[in-house]
Amino acid sequence: MSGIGLDLSRKSSAYSMDDLVEWDRRIREKVDEFGLDCFPQEFEICDHSQMLGYMAYSGMPSHYPHWSYGKSYEKLKTLYDHGVSGLPYEMVINSNPAIAYLMRDNTLLLNILTMAHVYGHNDFGKNNFTFKSTRAELTVETFKTHAMRVRRYVEDPSIGVEKVDRILDSAHSLSWQCRRNLAIRKLSPEEQIDRALEGAEPRPDPFQKIHARPERVEPDLHHVPIQPDEDVLLFIRDHNPYLAEWEKDLLTIVDEEAKFFIPMMETKIMNEGWASYWHKQILESLNLDQGLHIEFIIRHNQVVRPISGQLNPYHLGLRVWEDIYRRWTEPTADEIKRDGVPTKSGREKLFEVREVERDSSFLRRYLTEEMIREMDIFQYEARGEDYVVSKVADDEGWRAIKDTLIKNIGTNSIPVIKVEDADFGQSRTLYLKHYHDGRDLHLEYGEKTMAYLQRLWGREVVMETTLEGKRSLLCCNDRGFSVRALK
């Protein structure tokens, strides 16, 4: 799911469905010509209130009910009604067939542009490795079954909406505390035991005679979990014996949904850049008449313009993709000297990258120093009340800037928290650890989220973290929340 920002004229449409079908045919010719590999595509024409409805539910045609979606609807509507923000031109769901919504009130050109853009997303979703974990052909059905299950619990007289909300509220607050790289398989408990045993074996030592024999440390195979577990919701589901079946099911549903959206978070910049790159290529090759062409240039530039003080993923993504194409097509003399003559054509390289990278690796590899300078990307930090520019793109700063940038995109902006022990102090206290990377947790949010965690776990919950350089333990139990210092 993704959308292009910015709104515009809500001119009434002076084109027919047949026009759209015809333009779609022409776009698809180009899509085939450029070698994009797409799922079948479905477009649904909707008006702005339907679009708001879809947006509130992340574009899903059916979705389980929860008040937070009502909240997001109200918010979107308020912003829209007050003209603060416009509606996206489109929404795409990465499913097979791919579903996209087109706004009826948009101009013809805008819908042409949108369709071309959608085919870019479609191709990306079908081919990028991060999306392999989402089963595209089942997406819509899965969401529908989830919705049916949740509704059934809501309607069940012995459960009801209050209880369902209690679980969903808590689960939502923890939904992103799951594995991020879904291409790495999670080890089964048996495999984890094997690993632990293997790890306990001493390394083969060629100088055994002169070395002291290393002591064999017996791994604690009764420790739960054997390896720290990042899937917090699933861990609670599997290890809290007091949860009812429906509660476990809700946790599963929330977890599955989060994992559906993780690939999108992980590839936001690439994905938007890719779609923008191809809508540009396609529209430029369509021989638009002058009026449409001018409008295309205006719209395109609105979408991919840099926004000062922010980072527009459309802009950043497109710039990097174009740079990759350039470097593999007509590299400068310096680049040949540094990287050698390209072995692949520009387009081959593009298709390779779109398959095997995600945002962090994409930027790490292809965002060059020159680009950071050119785009004037800076690093900022909090100083008192203000955010202040701390580094600018110069010889010293650019690497740090790049690191900071990568640290703040996609799932990197979510703290890594793992379950370390389910029976801490032999009192079934849940012990979690925040893998601190220099950024402290927001304490107020932490406190509230810990309370949700405790609600789901049913016993005391503690979390190790670092606050202002000191190792601390956040505790949440029946007596409330407290922060203790650790040695």
Partner: protein, 429 residues
């Protein structure tokens, strides 16, 4: 690409089920907002902005209950963003606690801060929420003069008889159609019994004649038109029934007495006014036939309008007794206790002229005697309590069970003491 045809689904405006599927979730959200407001009502009241304002005024209310919390990074995490081409180190680019820079449209970065944490409610709504679970102390009924208030006339069902103007044409016509269909079915059934094979139109006419006998209003001999005509019958007629909702309400008068002397500084006046504002709002939302009297006093007392009461400042010394005497006078003139339930509330800082205390005490006792409930609220902003005299000690001598005092020290006290005032029901009886 290995795909079939692209599918276009046309716009379906009537697809209400789909487009409005968020209705349920929105409703739940609004309920949550309401709950959250109710929980924070004491804080909202402590906000100055609501006092004495117009009812339609929209107030921004902070919402705490409905934030969605997650584990997120705090303020010490910086970020990267794009500049306008000449960014310099040290340049200020945003405020912490607000949306930092670098947070693009929907970059998944979960930073706290910009949540939907405020909502707009009108004052009227707010008051409604506030008083949802409060009741005025049981108004004792004084039998002699109960005001009959014709609240509203409500439709309540339908009757077979009534006056012509209330004839419900639609329902009457419906009844006729129903009767007609029933009659036809009966007629057809008869035909089928009598003539299973074929039916003669004349036979049908005959049966129809049977049917029409039921319709008493019809003259019996016009068989030709009978088939087409199926006139209204007395039984078809339906009349709207209207019930007048009368409520007998106790007669109540609420007398608000406020000290407006010079010692009542802005803060004190503000606290007192907040208190009366709540009281006044509460009473006027709940009861239609409650009369409210405003009395402002310094060394002398005047009956004032609502507007003056809430907004006008005065100065001078304090004779609390003057306010009470004025109240007694008004009660004597207009609200005789045998006919009216009288409630009196007085707010002051207790800085009374000593010489006035005995008179005030006496008047207070008198008031307590004739009122259902008499309350005294002493406004003592923190700190001022130790060097200023207090009437609380004086009034302690009033033994009446229906006299109550509260102490308001700060904004946060207003709501609890207000609730306490109302909770204390009339003990006697």
């Amino acid at each position: 690409m290995a795909t079939g045809e692209t599918i276009f689904r046309e716009y379906r405006p009537s697809d209400a089920e789909r487009s409005d599927r968020s209705a349920g979730d929105r409703l739940r959200h609004r309920q949550k907002v309401r709950e959250s407001i109710r929980e924070n009502i004491a804080d909202i009241i402590a906000e100055e902005s609501i006092i004495g304002k117009d009812k339609d005024r929209v107030i921004k209310v902070p919402l705490r209950g409905i934030k969605e919390y997650r584990f997120v990074y705090g303020d010490n995490s910086g970020g990267a963003a794009q500049g306008d081409g000449n960014s310099q180190p040290g340049q200020v680019v945003g405020k912490t606690g607000k949306e930092g820079p670098g947070k693009g449209d929907d970059m998944a970065g979960d930073r706290p801060g910009v949540d939907y944490y405020e909502t707009d409610v009108t004052l009227e709504e707010l008051i409604e929420i506030m008083f949802e679970d409060l009741e005025l102390p049981n108004l004792e009924r004084r039998a002699l003069r109960e005001i009959q208030s014709d609240y509203s006339s409500k439709r309540k069902g339908y009757r077979h008889v009534g006056i012509r103007v209330r004839l419900d044409k639609r329902r009457t016509a419906k009844q006729r159609v129903m009767r007609m269909l029933a009659a036809q079915r009966r007629a057809n059934g008869k035909i089928e019994e009598a003539l299973p094979d074929d039916e003669e139109p004349e036979e049908f006419e005959e049966d129809a004649a049977d049917v029409s006998e039921i319709t008493a209003l019809q003259p019996p001999d016009q068989t030709a038109v009978r088939q087409k005509r199926f006139p209204f019958h007395q039984d078809d007629l339906r009349y709207k029934h209207i019930e007048i909702d009368t409520r007998e309400e106790s007669n109540a008068a609420v007398i608000c007495i406020m000290d407006t002397s010079g010692s009542m500084d802005t803060m004190k006046k503000y606290l007192a006014r907040s208190f009366f504002f709540l009281l006044y709002q509460f009473i006027s939302t709940r009861y239609r036939n409650v009369e409210i009297v405003f009395i402002a006093h310094h060394t002398e007392a005047n009956e004032v309008t609502e507007e003056e009461f809430f907004h006008k400042g005065e100065s001078g010394g304090t004779f609390i007794s003057s306010g009470y005497l004025k109240a007694l006078e008004i009660i004597r003139e207009r609200y005789h206790p045998s006919l009216w339930n009288v409630y009196a509330f007085h707010c002051s800082d207790g800085d009374n002229f000593d010489s006035d205390n005995p008179t005030a005490l006496k008047a207070g006792e008198e008031l307590a005697e004739i009122c259902n409930l008499f309350g005294y609220g002493e406004i003592k902003p923190l700190g001022s309590r130790y060097y200023e005299s207090s009437m609380l000690n004086v009034f302690r001598r009033i033994q009446a069970p229906n006299f109550h005092t509260v102490l308001i020290e700060r904004k946060e006290d207003i709501w609890p003491s207000f609730k306490a005032f109302l909770a204390k029901d009339r003990v006697q009886e």
